[in-house]
Amino acid sequence: MNIIVCAKQVVEISEMKIDSSTNKPILSGLDKKVNDIDKNAIEEAIKIKDKTGGKITVIMVGEPDVKERMKELLAMGADEGILVNSPGDLDYSQLTTLLSGAIKKIGDYSIILCGEASTDMFSGQVGPRLAGMLDISQITYAQKIDATKDNVTGERNLGDTVVTLESSYPVLITVTKEINEPRLPSLMQILASASKPILEWSVDDLDVTLEQKVLTTDLQGISMDRKNEIYKDDSDDSIQKLVDNLAKDGVLR
């Protein structure tokens, strides 16, 4: 069974600062990493492969530095990486057009796995959008998957209900962070992954037409001003100061 996982490189948001003169977030120089939930997707792909056999292909779209992230996913257990070189900032239409172009070029697959959303944008658009483009069925927000040779059952976490869906192949599944605990690759696996293939495709290698549907015209930082009055101990005096301040702020009534 061929499994395709779509993964994304994101910036480390906890390091992000806002430039106070321009009120814009400073994005350059931030550490980059694999989107957390995409690792859950890889982990789930490995579990399915362990059970049914097959091959795991990871597709990432982005700048050349994405290759470093790809190596991490190959070390976890993916068999092959495909890096689609991105021609700059993409909207969701362009991004999913490239992904679907790459998927069509791969051709044979049963399951496409994606994280439910990325930690930077948190739209959750890529998975179901891709399913729509490829016109295949979708199981989103899966907190549990049970795949056999012929079909897959997924539990969708919808907040107040859990809906269980059964689907034949091909199917696109987006997973939540709760579905599993992604493995940490061993040193041996990291070394072995160096010999796994990473194919680099450009837009011209794919049979696609890119059209921007949504243009980002501005990005404004939101600063959070807090008093940051921290008491270094939990003495009665500190507690009393805190209570007095809360009373002054009008939240005790």
Partner: protein, 318 residues
């Protein structure tokens, strides 16, 4: 035309007010869709909240999948030549909107916090980077598909004398290749953290499920009954149902007072509570990230701080 759809009635009414505002500018009609039961009472309600026309696509909603919802909406969009599609941003709404965008090769923005027309172009805002920035985005093409969370727009006052057309549509979408085999209700409490004015939240600093009573006692002393929590407590340990979970993939809250006890302050948690008016953090680690997002903080063990604070609050409030 502007098309409105949500499986959540309240959210549909909220979207109608924005749809009516846009339609006034473009001199178009507001269309609302009902997918599921043939509910004429609800259709009339949609009219009273601003819909000029309501399409009822009757089908067995219990077993309808995203693929089928999309095909029904595609039909309605084509027939009505809708250029702006507003969909309620719950989990169903988001997956339907995204799939629809893929099918129609249309622009789509999820979780918009503002929708307007700027020189004829649909312009939206959405929060990105875990609440650190707002992105302004402009649609270059139509249709423009937008999902909007609840409480972003206020509904207009319902006017039962408003006139509108109600039309039944027989649309039988191609059956999805998937089947719903089970639907189970999750165990939930009667808590609604999104409406709460005072929240005491617990994190990994709690060592046992029964210790959550310490947070509960403080919440009661503060005359708020609401206990919240971070991801590990709800998702991993399952000590509290998920309706208590505050964070990026949990609930977003905006209480007057938010007390974070034993919560480290991961960016995903901050994204859920950053709109709180006053934030108090209690953590024994002086370097915990949560202190950066707090108005007041106490560096100390929650097992000693919480009882002391509860007592002091009770004394203060009499």
């Amino acid at each position: 035309m502007v098309l409105v759809y949500s499986d959540n009635k309240k959210l549909a009414f909220e979207l109608l007010s924005k749809a009516a505002e846009i339609s006034k500018e473009t001199k178009n009609e507001v269309i609302a869709a009902i997918i599921g039961k043939n509910d004429e009472t609800y259709a009339k309600e949609l009219v009273s909240y601003g819909a000029d026309k309501v399409y009822i696509a009757e089908n067995e909603s219990e077993t309808t999948k995203a693929e089928e919802y999309c095909e029904i909406l595609e039909n309605i969009i084509t027939e009505t030549k809708s250029e702006i599609i507003l969909i309620g941003s719950n989990k169903n709404g988001k997956e339907i909107a995204s799939r629809l965008a893929g099918k129609l090769n249309a622009g789509c923005v999820i979780d918009a916090t503002d929708v307007s027309l700027d020189a004829g172009k649909v312009t939206v805002k959405r929060v990105v980077y875990s609440g650190n920035a707002i992105s302004v985005q402009q649609f270059q093409t139509t249709p423009a598909i937008i999902t909007v969370p609840s409480k972003v727009f206020d509904p207009i006052d319902a006017d039962s004398s408003r006139k509108g057309k109600i039309e039944k549509k027989a649309i039988s979408p191609k059956k999805s290749t998937s089947t719903i085999t089970n639907i189970s209700e999750k165990v939930t409490g009667d808590v609604n953290v999104e409406e709460a004015e005072i929240i005491v939240s617990c994190g990994r600093g709690f060592k046992d499920k029964s210790d959550i009573k310490l947070a509960d006692e403080l919440a009661t002393a503060l005359k708020g009954k609401t206990v919240g929590c971070s991801r590990p407590i709800a998702a991993d340990l399952k000590w509290l149902p998920e309706d208590h979970w505050i964070g990026l993939s949990g609930h977003k809250v905006k209480p007057k007072l938010y007390v974070a006890a034993g919560i480290s302050g991961q960016i995903q948690h901050i994204a859920g509570m950053r709109d709180s008016s006053v934030v108090v953090a209690i953590n024994k680690d002086a370097d915990a990230l949560i202190f950066n997002s707090a108005d007041y903080g106490i560096v100390g063990d929650l097992y000693s701080v919480l009882p002391k604070l509860t007592k002091a609050i009770k004394e203060k409030m009499g």
